[in-house]
């Protein structure tokens, strides 16, 4: 997550992208900053996010009624309002590609306000407007409990592969893979 830039988190269902974004939300709200989450398909789980450490009173949740056009307009308004450290956009199950004009419009807006815009989607939608792009892929599912039939889901491991990075940081070179363990 980079302030003043657009970051993309893409992946299939159960890849771990939503959990990684929630961890960003937790870190931002824990330091007292405000965040907004534009939720196209109403997928946000406030109970789980609260358990994960997100300070919910600092999160503005915008539910867009399965309308991606509304979600994009809401993001456009939010990134122009200085004071939100993080704005998240979950595009839902159906993810059409964003127009280049729209992508650059958002890019300029976040650069001016210093907001970090994180787009969570099934595949890349912002194209060259994004400064960072990660592809999430689940690598392992860990079960626990008495053998031979473990009866509890313990964690999943997600591999975050850097797809695009404008910054010249060794850890963020394209193709680099970072492993994240997400506990249940």
């Amino acid at each position: 997550m980079s302030p003043g830039a657009i970051t993309e988190l893409v992946g299939h269902a159960s890849s771990g992208r939503t959990s990684v974004f929630t961890a960003c939300l937790r870190d931002v709200t824990a330091r007292g900053a405000l965040a907004a989450f534009v939720d196209t398909d109403h997928v946000f789980d406030p109970v789980g996010a609260g358990r994960a450490g997100v300070e919910l009173s600092r999160v503005l949740w915008v539910r867009c009624g399965h309308r991606l056009d509304r979600a994009l307009r809401a993001v456009d308004l939010l990134v122009r309002c200085p004071g939100f450290a993080l704005v998240g956009l979950d595009t839902g199950d159906v993810t059409p590609r964003m127009t280049l004009a729209m992508a650059y419009r958002l890019k300029l807006a976040v650069r001016r306000t210093g907001t970090a815009l994180v787009v969570v989607s099934g595949h890349r939608v912002v194209a060259s407007g994004a400064t960072l792009a990660f592809a999430a892929r689940r690598s392992h599912v860990a079960w626990t409990g008495p053998r031979p039939a473990p009866n509890r889901l313990e964690a999943i491991e997600t591999a975050l592969e850097v797809m695009r990075a404008r910054a010249r940081v060794p850890e963020l070179r394209p193709g680099a893979v970072h492993h994240v363990r997400l506990r249940a």
């Binding site: 159960s14 007292g32 997928v43 949740w61 004071g83 689940r138 009866n151 509890r152 994240v180």
Partner: protein
Amino acid sequence: MSPFACAWVPFFAVAAFERSEPALVERPVIVVRGHGAATRVVEASAAAREHGIAPGMTEAEARARCPLLVARAWCDERVASARHALLEAALTVSPRIEDGGPGIVHLDTAGLGGLVGDTHAIVDRLLRQVRAVGLRACVGVAASRTAARLAAQAGTRVTIVPPGGERTFLAAVPLAALELSADLAATFARWGIRTLGELAALPRRSLGDRLGAAGLRAHDASLGVDREPFHVYVPEPYWEEAQGLEWEVTLLEPLLGVIERVLTRLCDRLGVVHVSVDGVDLELALASRETHHRTIALAYPTRDVRLIRTLIAVDLEGHPPPAAVVGVTVRARPAVARPTPADLWRPPAPAHRDLAVLLTRLTEMVGADNLGAPSVLDSHHPDAFTLRPFVAHAAVATPGAPDDRHPPPRMMLRRKQPSAAVEVEAADGRPRAVTSDGRWTRVLACAGPWRMSGEWWDTRAWARDEWDVLLSDTRLCRLAHDRLADHWQLIGVYD
């Protein structure tokens, strides 16, 4: 000079109607309430009472006694207007007045000697001012409010009780002037008490032992003693500005220019008394002789003209007036603005003005039900959450020193809203295959059941078993088996 005066308007409800319909003066008038045969007289004028008409009587009986009777249905607005008119008239005589109820106002006349004159001059001025607002009052002057009120109700136009003569004056007043409760009046009647002098002669302690607080209050009134503090009446400020237009406005931009000018005048007035507003009522008079009402709630108290104008513009874009506008009225709802200092240790939040505009635009876009800060309810139900209004400076604990420890992130669920019904093939009580679109998906691994229930004491009882399942299409899901309805749901997908 006696310090208190009381202006009393007899038969106040009738007087309120006579004030708005001067033709009713001197005619027998009654004010009635109810419908049909249950219509009862609640107030009768002096001319009507001469025919034996009294409150509580049915309208039919009253008309039988006086065929020329004029009846009017009770109207709260007329009585309230007359009450305010009486108070405003009293305020022109003394700055310290007390609202004694419908038709009664007490005036503190201390210090008016140098401004108005002696007691007679004050009484003359009071009578003149009350008459100017269309009411006819009787005035009493005495050393206490109770004695002044009883003096005003004594039956003459003006009654001035000389200082120190209250006991003598009240001794001859009939007990009925106190308007006691029926039980108390019956008790005094049994005791043979007819006047306030006889009541005042009773031993106070014994009266309190027998009749309690009501008896003591009656005794105080018979002595002309005020136990209640003087509640000074302060008129409510009138925060409204309006402007009529000589031309019809059909476009939004010119209309907003007019609204801005009206708002500027209103906010200038608010600024003089250091008051902000937390809501604005906009009323647009239309060429079709209708009115277009809009209420704009502000996220925080302010008197920023540009902000309020922007919010009105956003609101009118979504709800434009149905016809051309010929008049603008803006009413403000005042609120006390409490400054909130910024927190040095917290990242800067959006400016109040920016946030208010943003929330208004988002509300217009997605609706108020879909916007806010999520809040978890005190329940074990997994869906127990609600949305509360988003506040930038929410009262939460100030973060301390930055925590360098990063606890491992947790798995999150992408919820299905609403939960999707699925069919599940189970073996030994454990899910083996799942289908939602007619296509079966094999369960590779599962964990559960996590048995949950709640609100069994209510009609919203719920009970379900939850399972974490890994499907052959790589999805890791949470399923729930509703034990009450015996069906399966897809709660969400771990992601």
